[in-house]
Subunit: 176 residues, 2 copies
């Protein structure tokens, strides 16, 4: 059996996107191709942008999102966020169905769902119709019953202890 | 403030080592140096070995462990495991104190602690005496009160749903 998996990393803990990047790294170690479509935090995640250059040509990063909604000096209108997220979903669908990638990471898509930037039934349709061999990884704080149901592998990342709460600032290369 | 963090990923879910690899990838994106010392699963984790080559020269992988104890056709004597784990801890200490690396990943060290392959007080001493700027990441299923206490950032990865339980075999580039 060699069917692709639908994998979800959710929860309030650190490591969801980082784990997805680690999956990309492993897959690329086998000379497989990976595409990451960022649904929300595109504008400020410099670490991912820099490091993705190391993985070319097997890794493609599509920055579709408009930063976090309502935080981090967000100056975008909600309609602009919805438009970006819908575009991201169209891109994701094209990437998944292109058969050019072994694994597609839909980064922060679960959070985009929570914010109602995209329609869940549209995502579920894409997942249900995906080419059998393709792996899809969904990340984001949120989890829904339907995604839990369709996913093969689900891990919750729970924040147990966080340094920001002790007053330590975000550290380059670790947090951003 | 620019002090290094002690970070722990534990729990029974997927993504602990993968998240650590993702941290390596981000750090290397900033041209920082990372060393990963594998305490247990060295002999069979091909994905990590292959992909680490992509990150050279900023990433060093030290395979010190002897495979999982008691599983996966383990044919090593427990004394051999203890010797390997103790050597791994000595190497880890040297790497941490060398100041050649921004981040040192002690992979599966928490599991080595659980199996009593290494002494917890020795690890705690190393962490307490580490150079202030160095980040240390601890991974493994297990978590102890002392590590919880000394760590700055702790995330539990909880297995919510796992495909092996549905009879799907491990997939190259995703699971190994």
């Amino acid at each position: 059996m060699n069917r692709g998996l639908i994998i979800a990393y959710y929860g309030n803990g650190k490591g969801k996107t980082t784990a997805a990047l680690g999956v990309a790294l492993r897959a690329i170690g086998y000379n497989l191709n990976v595409c990451m479509v960022q649904f929300i935090k595109g504008e400020w995640d410099y670490g991912e942008i820099y490091s993705s250059n190391l993985l070319k040509p097997n890794f493609e990063l599509v920055i579709a999102g408009k930063g976090f909604v309502g935080i981090l000096d967000d100056d975008h209108d909600i309609k602009e966020h919805i438009e970006s997220a819908k575009t991201a979903l169209l891109i994701a669908k094209e990437k998944i169905n292109s058969l050019r990638y072994d694994t597609i990471i839909l980064d922060e898509i679960n959070y985009a769902l929570k914010l109602k930037l995209i329609e869940e039934h549209e995502l579920i349709s894409i997942l249900e119709a995906k080419p059998p061999k393709v792996n899809v990884i969904l990340t984001g704080n949120y989890m829904t019953d339907q995604i839990m149901d369709i996913a093969d592998l689900v891990t919750e990342m729970r924040e147990i202890k966080h340094p920001f709460k002790k007053g330590i600032r975000a550290k380059k290369g670790i947090d951003f």
